[in-house]
Amino acid sequence: MDKNLALAFLAVFVAACYYGMTRTSKGIHIPIRRVPGLDAIEEAIGRATEMGRASLFIIPSGGFDAQAFAAFDILGYVARQSAKYDTRIIVVNGLPEAHAISQEVVRQAYLAEGREDKYDPNDLLFLSGGFNAGVLGIYEREKIGANFLFGSFYFESLTLAEAGSRTGAIQVAGTANTHQLPFLVAACDYTLIGEEIYAAGTYLSRNGAQIGSLIAQEIGKYVSIGVMLIGSLYLTMTSPAVRSLAGKP
């Protein structure tokens, strides 16, 4: 029984993915709601520019996974904004693989804004052991006006976000690691929660495969909300308490 349901689920899911991909490849626009934290990014960079401070983007050492990929999409956006406003951007990576990709992402962003001359590879850092201490050093040395923390955070989120907030920077963060969300929510001005960082990545990259799978997930969510509510209402109507209230045996 459960297996048949699972198979049906998978079939619908694959079909929805396929549908979404073909729609985007045909250039049909699919509306995705904007995530509030994304608007904050532009505001934060604007503020940093006014104050003549740099922005800092941190991708932690937690994992080279889907969260990191979403972080790259967001990094691309942040880098473009920085290039546009001519604000310095410092990027810190905790993983060597991520470092290689962020270099490419930032360079591309500067290229897209026609500011390749302003791209400085020395502002992209890879910190292996002692990630925490390294980032804290950057907070001390540089004047940071906007602080971005995206990716798979572990215990380092606590110290980094707290130290960042003391520099007076606007902080926008996001992770799908629920165990770290309390700290980020407490210490940052805007936090992208869980799925929001994937959606933000999709929103910014407009990647067909990602939009396709977003559509499939949306269907899953609508269906589960519907089943939950309708199922619960049905159970309420048929529950002995309500039946006796209605005077039925």
Binding site: A6, I30, G129, H179, A186, G194, E218, S224, L229
Partner: protein, 210 residues
């Protein structure tokens, strides 16, 4: 005797780690590197034991098919060569592909169907109402593609559309969930220090009576 020395030594090692709180420096660095070295040794040893018991010994008994994972495993090390590096993609793709397949078989029933089913509850008690509405609204918070045309746009801006209400309710539920998570994380982290102090004040300098 070896244990006695060990206990004294570990007390000093713990204090060496705590120098980090005042100034991260040489002492902390040395101690941390010893630990990282041991961790890497552990990974190598356990990896080797796994390979020996699950692949090499059965291979010696004639299970030739095990050559496939052995070759794939060895190819992982191609990444250390500039020329052959691309060969490491093969085992990577295998690792990711199987993990993806396994996840699909596990998640749908246990984490989706069963969980949705468990949220169908008769709404005749406060707990059930909170549970159903809390779960549904948390899910609604994560909806990114609005249903239908943008008819309710005006109401949405005022924050009165059903979607906004649901999504705010979801936010509130999640904040409460994160708050309670936080409480439990505090409990966990503090106990790490309690245990170290128990050791330092107990077996190390014997202030805590047995």
């Amino acid at each position: 005797m070896a244990d006695k020395i060990g206990i004294y030594l570990s007390g000093f090692l713990i204090l060496a780690v705590y120098t980090y709180l005042f100034k991260p420096g040489k002492v902390y660095d040395y101690v941390e590197h010893v630990y990282v070295g041991f961790a890497a040794a552990q990974a190598i040893i356990l990896g080797w034991k796994n390979i020996r018991d699950a692949a090499i010994r059965p291979l010696q008994k004639g299970q030739w098919v095990l050559l496939i994972p052995i070759v794939l495993g060895l190819l992982l090390y191609a990444r250390f060569s500039k020329k052959m590096g691309y060969l490491a993609r093969l085992p990577m793709a295998f690792l990711m592909g199987v993990a993806a397949g396994v996840t699909i078989t596990g998640v749908i029933v246990a984490q989706f169907i069963t969980q949705v089913r468990a949220t169908m509850l008769p709404l005749i008690s406060l707990n059930n109402v909170v549970m159903v509405l809390g779960t549904a609204s948390t899910l609604a918070f994560f909806l990114f593609i609005p249903l239908g045309k943008q008819r309710g746009a005006g109401r949405e801006a005022n924050g009165f559309s059903p979607m906004t209400i649901m999504s705010n309710l979801g936010r509130a539920t999640m904040m409460a969930a994160f708050g309670s998570s936080y409480g439990f994380i505090v409990m966990s982290r503090l106990s790490y220090l309690v245990a170290r102090l128990q050791f330092l004040l107990g077996p190390w300098i014997h202030i805590i009576p047995r």
